[in-house]
Amino acid sequence: MELVRDPLLDAVTALASARDEITVCAIVRRAARELTAADGVTFVLRQGSHCYYADEDAIAPLWKGRRFPLESCISGWTMLNKRYAAIPDIYADERIPHDAYRPTFVKSLLMMPVRREDPIAAIGAYWARNHLATPVEIGVLQSLADAASLALNNVQLNTDLKAALRQERDARESAESSNKLKDEFLALLSHELRTPLHVINNWLWQLRQGTKTPPDVLRKALAVIERNTALQARLVDDLLDVSRAAAGKLSIDSKLVDLGALCVTAVDNGQAAARDKSIALDLLPGDSPRIWGDPDRLHQVLWNVISNAIKFSDRGGRVDVHVARNGPRAIISVKDNGPGVAPDFLPHMFDRFRQAEGGMTRKQGGLGLGLTIVRELMALHGGTVSADSPGPNQGTTIRLEFAVAEPPKPGSEVLGEALRKLSPVH
């Protein structure tokens, strides 16, 4: 027995395994033309208020790749009205935009919606002669449309599934990396707390030995214990600040602050640390804008930025602090000539727990919280902090930007004076 090939069955089978729109279009296009013996077919997708002529197979070009409003064409009409249109003479039918058809061979057509209850596409068959579609042609095109509808649903499900899987994977990866960051941070925290504790513990043991401690050794002991205690206190303060910031409980107590004077003090305070590394720390001549801010917290911001610049500069380097006023903005810049920051790390400089160096051979101590605290405190001041590094060994500049405090309006001062004069003298 000869096996008869059934084009509709072939198309339905192929559509069942189609996984993307392009494949669906190609199968429908080929099958529609073969099944209806039409001179051309189109596959039209609904895209919001427009129909998109996604694909075609015809004796001469039709409208592939073009978009029309649903109301202006027959494919739109079948989708909006949820039923097919069989038109034996298109020029006798006012649903047809005649101008669009004049350049084409089309004289008659059959337009079939895909997914009857809520059309998402349409299949068009066109003839170069006047022809009323037969019940058989309408039937096979209807069957093909039903199969295409299922296939498009499959494509949609497949796309949704892939997107959902991707989303799930991204969420898992981000949770894993944030867990890893936290684990590394806890290990680092343990290290940073135990190291000064070890020093303090060893010195106390030494001082408690029976022998009398010479005065210079005692002086040294006290200095080392003090330094390491301060280191731990600072660590605990930073941790508390970061956890307060995370809980939204960091607050500031604002007063009028002169940034020029603030920087003079900050640079003075940084001299000892700078001297230890033979680094020249200078305040360059600049402006003295006033801002609203918390003096203690602003000192903390500046100290974190300046000590960071010193910490990451090589011995004998320099750190320049500069205050400038630019219209309504006040800008403090702290520029070092150290090794700079790698471009891929720059965006993460202010992130919690992030440090450029990791692993057991990192050269710098600390928890990597200083700049995170700076960012949080700057936000509370309505300001911003940014970092810039032009390249390796070209240093880093940290810019702190604030809004300048509005000077009191001259008018109000005069008015105040006048009111005082008017008030009765007691």
Binding site: A187, R194, T195, H198, W205, Q206, T211, T361
Partner: protein, 121 residues
């Protein structure tokens, strides 16, 4: 009097190295100092210490890498190495490289006792 026993301290934190040196010297040892794993390897090769007290987190070469390198050199592989670290967890998988592992903060009593223990082994 016999020559004093040589102890090599590999420790990058100056404050920690200073006090440990002072304590070990008071206990009668000759102390050699190294600031990182590379200096430790160098000192081990040239000065042949009797025992090494090794920090783990150090710049340039960490203590774990330095100890692995020591164990690969026939001349040096028998020198006892005491790991003294603020993060014992990082060497939990390489415990067998070390003759002892001490967690910081570590009392000098425990360090001195551990040194005499590994020396008589």
């Amino acid at each position: 009097m016999a020559n004093p026993t040589k102890v090599l301290i590999a420790e990058d934190y100056d404050d920690a190295r200073d006090i440990m040196t002072m304590i070990l010297q008071s206990a009668g040892f000759e102390v050699l100092e190294a600031r990182d794993g590379l200096e430790a390897l160098d000192a081990a090769r040239t000065k042949k210490p009797a025992v090494i007290v090794m920090d783990m987190f150090m710049p340039n070469m960490d203590g774990l890498t330095a100890t692995r390198a020591l164990r690969d050199e026939p001349e040096l592989r028998r020198i006892p190495v005491i790991a003294q670290t603020a993060q014992p967890a990082v060497i939990s998988g390489s415990r067998e490289l070390f003759d002892a592992v001490l967690a910081k903060p570590c009392s000098p009593d425990l360090l001195l006792r551990t040194i005499s223990e590994v020396l008589v082994r």
